[in-house]
């Protein structure tokens, strides 16, 4: 988790230089790489890991808030090295925010005894062209 709240801090520090932006971008990417090492804990099967999963999601949310602030400040400075990679990492995690550990735990329970679809069945259900 970031020790600095970039959302609040950056606006108070005047104009951001390209060099400073690139340092912050590199730091944010390094933090994302470290957080991704714990991906298997995002949606754990074991109930006793749910709390840790919630905290990991909170850490990612904190990271995303900082990165959104950084991207807003860095965008006018283009080109900033690593900024596109950072946007990519941000998009991935913003997608994942739509599924909480609790939602996946509930879905897992429903999927175990319930109906699952093959890809072909899903294509038919969606009335897509069968590629098979």
């Amino acid at each position: 988790m970031s020790a600095l709240e970039l959302v609040d801090l950056l606006p108070q520090l005047g104009d951001l230089t390209v060099a400073a932006a690139e340092r912050w971008v590199a730091a944010a990417l390094a933090q994302a790489t470290a957080l991704r090492e714990h991906d298997p804990w995002l949606y754990p099967i074991e109930p006793e890991r749910q709390q840790a999963a919630e905290r990991l999601h909170a850490a990612w949310k904190h990271w995303a808030d900082d990165v959104e602030a950084l991207v807003r400040r860095a965008e006018p400075l283009q080109p900033v090295r690593g900024l596109e990679d950072l946007r990519q990492a941000l998009g991935r995690v913003q997608a994942l925010f739509k599924l909480t550990p609790a939602m996946i735990a509930q879905r897992r329970q429903q999927a175990a005894p319930g109906k699952v679809y093959s890809v072909e069945e899903a294509r038919r259900e969606l009335q897509l062209r069968d590629r098979g």
């Binding site: 991906d39 949606y43 946007r87 998009g91 991935r92 997608a95 994942l96 679809y117 897509l128």
Partner: protein, 88 residues
Amino acid sequence: MSYSFAIAGDALADLKTLDSWLQEEVLDEIDTLGASSAIFPNLPNAGDTVYAFTRVHSGVKHHIALVLTRNDSSKTFTVLGIVHQIQT
């Protein structure tokens, strides 16, 4: 290691919220994963994993993430969730 892929009802409901071109892309990606486990990144020993990919459509980048649960006894991955985010 060869695993088949299945899609949970909840994930199919997720898929139905996407545009049809993106539905096709997601199902093609799942087909590709099923055909070549070599491209699948760092599988955990058990439990769930996240697989993410991007597509560019009409100049807009789309991020898609799949939450997958793995069953070693049935050699199956079940897609539990499909989420989508447009890059801002």
